[in-house]
Symmetry: C2
Subunit: 152 residues, 2 copies
DNA sequence: TGCTCCATGTCAGTAGTCTGACATAGCGTG
DNA sequence: CACGCTATGTCAGACTACTGACATGGAGCA
């Protein structure tokens, strides 16, 4: 027989997942604050660092926020001179965004700090366990993308 | 040598974790909407179902939100008659909150729906893998609680 | 060509959450 | 007893993210 409801929240994978996510989020906020960056702003920079030329909508999808929210993030980063965006789109309406020199500099500092946070958070797990954890989580999202609409 | 920055976001445990969390959050929102419940509201009910008599601050900690946010959640659920809260505190200032009969009814429906969502999301993993995943995640949060301040 | 459909960008309004602040109740210690 | 410390509840304000809506540019098709 299968129990329909969760007996104990600590035994719910979803609850523990949320707990780890909250810890990661808090820790990231702390290390990004000295750089005057929010988590979505860092996500935007990181995405552009690895995939230059992404549009605003594409950034939004990959950062798991709406286009409108990402639009504000992009505008503020643009005001700070961390990224560039052509005034006119070359092809459609999508305007490819890229990091400036300052953007790359800030991103590197932030990326190092965030990497350290992740390393600390997952330190109880061995390298092999971390790899396995990532594989398992990846399997879940790829499966949900096939059953639901694959947004990315 | 250790790489300081993440080469590919898909290889970052934190990024995949956020991805799974986003999927879970979205799916929970969808199934809770027919019940006119938000995720924090469901979390509040679930916590009270398993631990009757929790105070507002305690609910906030276990739901990973601030006291102020949880205060609004509790008030709205109280207006809907799903939970009761004494007007005066018996001992300190903490007022123990408990579910009403309607609260238990709504909670049961919601809990069944959420349980189904989790089961679906983690369906790519075997029962053993899910258990292992939960164990690994739990290890991370317990470790972070010892290094940082143990809020709970 | 003209039409539909879709994706992108953007604007306005709304709702949720957070930070900061203050008052109160209990506990421990001088 | 008095004082400081902590925890809880609550209020006010600001910020963030979301939903809904609209306009525009391109692709596909009759």
């Amino acid at each position: 027989m299968e129990q329909e409801t969760v007996g104990d929240l600590a035994l719910s994978v979803g609850y523990v997942l949320k707990q780890v996510h909250a810890s990661l989020r808090t820790a990231m906020d702390e290390v990004l604050r000295p750089l005057d960056l929010t988590v979505p702003q860092y996500a935007c920079l990181e995405l552009l660092g690895q995939h230059p030329g992404l549009s605003n909508s594409e950034l939004a999808r990959r950062a798991f926020v709406t286009r409108q929210s990402m639009n504000l993030v992009v505008h503020r980063l643009q005001e700070r001179g961390l990224l560039t965006r052509p005034d006119q789109a070359t092809h459609g309406r999508a305007r490819p965004t890229e990091l400036t020199h300052d953007g790359h500099t800030v991103l590197h500092k932030a990326s190092v700090a965030v990497r350290a946070v992740e390393k600390e958070l997952f330190s109880p797990l061995s390298r092999q366990q971390q790899h396995r954890l990532r594989e398992d989580l990846t399997a879940c999202v790829t499966a949900s993308h096939t059953t639901n609409r694959p947004r990315a």
